[in-house]
């Protein structure tokens, strides 16, 4: 009996679990964090490759901020391990913190300081020398377009400019990893565009992890997206693949008594089926048929199977949890602004 190899497409939505990745900058294994009795994130696994721009996508309270706070060494996880550039975030917290630039969602800044004196302070905290600090402050003020405000008290800056100061402090010490929590929230559309292109520029050389609840934003900036929902990673893939998978696809699971070598081509020829995969189980041959949403192939498939002299053992529309979640986690961009 010829068995069709599992289709590659079937694996695409599985969480990434490769561990022997030499290029891994961040490795998260079985990460669980509890606030009281409630898990904020549970058994999360993922890897971020060096130089990659990774996006966390999910609604508020999904566990994005918790995950980022653990990545940056702000708090230790309840369970699980996180390593950054090979350093454990709990055991070698100081080494991790040297390598990370972080922008928390609320953009906390010392509002009574001027932009320059604040950056100087942050630079010294990161262990930079005086000459390098002066040099880098000029650089980041240029990159973040803060030239006209370097002597301004931070408390007097608008939200958009504070955001820039927040990014400036995060990139000041040229960290290998940038962690940006909702970097475009609450700023005006022009600044959003500027910030996005700035992040893309930074992503050329640095590893960037950012979170967002705006799908178009993530697909624009990120090379890979993790969808987090209620503390779990529900999908991990490139934005293109995710979009393809989620563009109105429905799925049917059928069990057919008949030789798979003959059944498969017939099923594939059914009008409207976009993808058919074979899943042999003990004593039965199951097939998964994907088709465009809005169609109903049940009628046609059952007649085709019977007319070929095979037996139809079961048929089930599979749940579309991922699609549902995706709709829940993604808000249209104009809803936010």
């Amino acid at each position: 009996m010829a068995v069709e190899p599992e289709n590659q497409a079937d694996l695409e939505l599985e969480p990434v679990t490769e561990s022997a990745d030499v290029d891994a900058m961040i490795e998260v294994r079985d990460l669980t964090h509890y606030y009281g009795p409630m898990p904020a994130v549970e058994n999360v696994n993922f890897t971020v490759r060096r130089g990659e721009i990774l996006g966390f996508l999910g609604p508020n309270g999904a566990g994005k901020t918790t995950t980022m706070r653990i990545l940056t060494g702000f708090m230790p996880p309840t369970r699980g391990t996180v390593t950054l550039d090979g350093y454990d975030v709990v055991e070698k917290s100081l080494e991790v913190r040297k390598r990370v630039g972080y922008l928390p969602e609320s953009v906390p800044l010392h509002t009574e300081m001027t932009v320059t004196s604040y950056l100087k302070y942050m630079g010294t905290l990161r262990g930079m020398g005086g000459r390098r600090i002066r040099h880098r402050i000029d650089d980041v003020i240029d990159v973040c377009r803060l030239e006209d405000y370097s002597r301004t008290i931070i408390g007097k800056l608008s939200k958009g400019f504070r955001q820039r100061v927040g990014i400036a402090q995060a990139i000041l010490h040229e960290p290998e990893v940038l962690v940006l929590d909702e970097p475009t929230i609450g700023i005006d559309p022009i600044q959003v565009v500027e910030t996005r292109s700035l992040i893309q520029d930074l992503g050329q050389e640095q590893t960037v992890v950012l979170s967002s609840h705006i799908l178009p934003e993530v697909s624009m900036i990120c090379e890979r997206v993790l969808i987090i929902h209620e503390g779990h990673i529900v999908a991990a893939d490139t934005p293109n693949n995710l979009a393809q998978h989620l563009r109105g696809v429905a799925q049917l699971e059928v069990e057919i008594g008949g030789p798979p070598a003959e059944v498969l081509p017939v099923l594939r020829s059914v009008n409207g089926a976009t993808e058919v995969t074979h899943h042999p189980r003990p004593g039965v041959n199951a097939y998964r048929i994907k088709f465009r949403e809005g169609l109903d192939l049940r009628d046609e498939i059952s007649r085709t199977v019977v007319s070929n002299g095979w037996s139809l053992l079961s048929m089930q529309m599979s749940s579309m949890s991922l699609e549902e979640i995706f709709l829940r986690v993604t808000t249209a961009e104009d809803d936010v602004e």
Binding site: E95, R97, Y102, P108, E112, M113, G127
Partner: protein, 237 residues
């Protein structure tokens, strides 16, 4: 070391550019001045700073927590603690840096009072011994009070709570020797040894006793240690 200096330097900058510190300095100078001149109406006033020292220990009870209340509570309120604790800075360096800043401001306050010494020397011939020892005692006493204030500021994100609780703890430490005066036997010794006052009074009399130095250094170390642990525990909450 560089990070301690960075934390301390930033806080000192903010001290000298914020009104709170100047208000504290103003209140301290006005009221300690009152204590200083209190005896001058006597026909035979004593050329000493004893009244000032006694008054200063009293004034520092509300003023030391007022100086330290901002140091960690505000970072927690604004969320800047998140950037501070994700910088490669150890928790004890944060506490020590903040403490150092408040200590520098204390020295600034006490430096202002050198004006009383100048007045005394100009118009009388005071015994210099008790003046030196009194200042040493006052610095130790002030450092202990600041350490208490640092702890309460670490424990809350509310500056008012930090100041009030800090003052409360200092009142207790100030008043235990009064209880020691009332009770007898072993209890008298215990209460007297626990509080600040009996340990400070020898400095005021011109005595520098290592017991008292050990006492204040222990109190300072204890409260700073508790502050560091409190900051560490913040990560686990």
């Amino acid at each position: 070391m560089r990070t301690i200096r960075a934390v301390a330097f930033k806080e000192i900058q903010i001290y000298f550019s914020s009104p709170v510190a100047y208000i504290v300095a103003l209140i301290f100078m006005a009221l300690s001045g009152f204590f200083f001149v209190r005896d001058l109406g006597n026909p035979f006033p004593e050329a000493s700073l004893s009244n000032f020292f006694q008054g200063a220990t009293f004034l520092l009870i509300p003023l030391a927590p007022a100086l330290t209340m901002r140091l960690l509570a505000e970072e927690q309120k604004l969320g800047t603690i998140e950037l501070l604790l994700t910088s490669p800075v150890r928790d004890w360096e944060v506490i020590l840096g903040k403490y150092l800043a408040s200590f520098v401001f204390l020295l600034f306050l006490l430096a202002l009072t050198s004006y009383y010494v100048i007045l005394l020397v100009a118009f009388a011939t005071p015994d210099p011994g008790p003046i030196y020892s009194g200042y040493i005692g006052l610095i130790l006493y002030g450092m202990a009070a600041l350490a208490v204030g640092i702890l309460t500021s670490t424990l809350t994100s509310n500056q008012i709570i930090a100041a009030v609780v800090g003052t409360g703890i200092l009142v207790v430490l100030y008043a235990t020797s009064f209880i020691g005066d009332v009770v007898t036997g072993v209890w008298a010794t215990i209460f007297n040894q626990l509080g600040f006052t009996s340990h400070f009074n020898d400095f005021d009399r011109g005595i520098i006793d290592s017991t008292h130095i050990v006492y204040f250094v222990t109190v300072i170390a204890l409260f700073l240690f508790l502050s560091i642990r409190a900051l560490e525990s913040r990560r686990w909450r």
